[in-house]
Symmetry: C2
């Protein structure tokens, strides 16, 4: 098979110099169209591909983008990655996958990674406590885009949703269904989104004239077991103090809540209504099916890489799209690189809306 071909071989076959072949490869304009065609034809014939390592060394760029991702078993991650992969597939870039556990702080690992100058940009999915470190790197002008998590507001490029408003609306939905005693199970505090969702929940209560009660706020973990534990705690309260509704920080925990409720003979939504957050694949199949605030995960993944690519390589086709159609619509001029996508409330059974709405209308 056509292996170990170098640019030199192609040059010889085409009767030109290495430099010209390189120009063709990089789509430089100053090449005679006739020559270009000839070279291209020969490269295709021999199915030649330039060595990425050599190109990286010589050119300083890498055609590799690093993706920092939490364990893929986290239910929101695969869908984001699907969006990422789909965009990358249309480019000449490849993905270098770094698995991180957001609980630990991998700053040192991160530094080694970057010292090797492997990837020419970084896509950080839910970096958690790595955010601070990333911000430092960004300020040293490493192209970085963060997905769905960030520390205190900065101008580091970011794609995600408005957790505060989304949580506000989810809670609001419960309030509109007539609930007053609404509990909340929080996510872990290393994720900013946990705080923002809590904040939105709280604000919704306040705006409805309901005094937030600390005894209805539970610390969670974003995992099924976390939901179970907090639900156990919740249902072990005196039954008369039970909330009539729970806004759970994410769908995984909501699932835990549902199973514990069933074990305790608590009927959902009749006794207690439940609303989740994320809309993971499982949510449509829980019992009862889960009302939840849907994140456009696939879209988030796509947009994030597109944004990153537009930094790394301004020639990139994506840049044509982004600044014209998309960016200006959602971002204030002072923060040109924040893309905020809309969430949507998916109403299913667990909130009881379908049960009550027909009655009230």
């Amino acid at each position: 098979m056509g292996s170990k071909l170098t640019i030199q071989d192609i040059a010889r076959l085409a009767g030109v110099s290495k430099a010209t072949v390189s120009r063709v490869l990089n789509q430089r304009s100053n090449v005679n169209p006739v020559t270009r065609e000839r070279v291209l034809r020969i490269m295709k014939e021999k199915s030649f591909g330039p060595s990425i390592t050599a190109a990286g060394l010589a050119g300083g760029r890498t055609r590799l983008i690093g993706v920092l991702a939490p364990p893929l078993t986290w239910p929101t991650v695969p869908e984001i990655m699907r969006g990422v992969a789909e965009v990358i597939e249309c480019t000449s870039y490849e993905i270098v996958l770094y698995s991180i556990s957001p609980a630990r702080n991998h700053s040192d690992v991160l530094d080694r990674i970057l010292a090797m100058k492997l990837s020419s940009g970084l896509l950080a999915i839910l970096p958690g406590q790595l955010s601070d470190h990333l911000r430092g790197l960004y300020e040293q002008s490493l192209p970085i885009v963060t997905i769905d998590d960030q520390g205190p507001p900065t101008d580091m490029p970011w794609v995600g949703i408005d957790n505060r408003i989304s949580a506000y609306e989810a809670t609001r939905h419960l309030i509109e269904l007539g609930h007053r005693r609404i509990a909340h199970i929080k996510g872990p505090e290393i994720f900013r989104c946990s705080l923002e969702r809590y904040d939105g929940y709280r604000q919704a209560l306040l705006d409805a004239g309901i005094e937030p009660d600390p005894k209805y706020v539970f610390p969670g973990s974003f995992e099924i077991t976390g939901g179970r534990q907090q639900a156990e705690a919740l249902f072990s309260m005196n039954a008369r103090e039970w909330p009539t509704a729970i806004f759970v920080g994410n769908d995984q925990m909501a699932f835990g809540v549902l199973t514990v409720a069933e074990a305790h003979g608590v009927r959902i939504p009749e006794d207690v209504a439940v609303v989740g957050f994320d809309d993971i694949p499982l949510s449509a199949h829980m019992k009862p099916t889960l009302t939840t605030m849907k994140q456009p995960l696939y879209e988030i993944g796509k947009r994030a890489v597109e944004l990153l690519l537009s930094f790394i390589d301004p020639q990139n086709p994506f840049q044509n799209d982004l600044p014209e159609d998309r960016l200006p619509s959602s971002i204030p001029t002072s923060q040109p690189f924040r893309i905020q996508l809309a969430t949507s409330l998916i109403v299913r059974e667990s909130c009881g809306a379908s049960r009550k709405l027909p009655v009230s209308s």
Copy 2:
């Protein structure tokens, strides 16, 4: 921050030559221990990391292993990847992720990828119809390990399970529960495992003296909708001809079967027993919970990379483990690079075993 440091800089600081630093980096033995320590200390101080591209160019190796994976939204994939990532994290290698859709044939893409000589080895997860092409590449001595799918038997390194026997046992389980009319929903035929599972199912029937009936065998897709469609077809048969049990090709489809059954008022397992295959996270949470043949996915991922690394880099620590403890136990000498892991039947509610066993014992 310590950026753009080269081996040259380290050499100067340590008062040695580039060559010596390179020797230290590659753990060559012919370096004075004193010198080695000094160089190592300086590298640590400056948090120096050698440029992967340069090292790749000069040395011909890459410290990158390519992972060919189907969409991560396929439920068995993340768990495999978790195993892969965990092993890689302990090495100096990185993962280059290529997303493929096994339905399409990406041979051309694959060739381009390899022409670039980016990765020094390939881990192919469920390559589907790409298998043939991969085999060709393997014979040209590209290190490749395949996970859980292969064409006709070859000596291409492979890690997976025995689908035939596992399906045999799953079916056997149903037979032992007293079922005689057992249906099967197959997976897509581009995956060899589909055929093997069907084969095991068939053999189990034959061995029990049951004549396999073609009308109880349905073509499926490995997706939820596939399960739904086939279940619709199945339950639209004359109720008296219904099978009393179904062995479904994978858990996703089994989930579809369960939902359709519920919609039709068919009780599982009372009216029809169901056994799935894979044991994906969802399975423990279906209604009823799904009895299924569990694949050790995490373990499969780990073993596969370990095997691949032992090809690429025989110095690798993993080689110490593999040939001694593991390989000899499971493989015939003629095929030294096939690792077959054991599956296990997870008995839950959907097969009805818990209901019947207490009675019969």
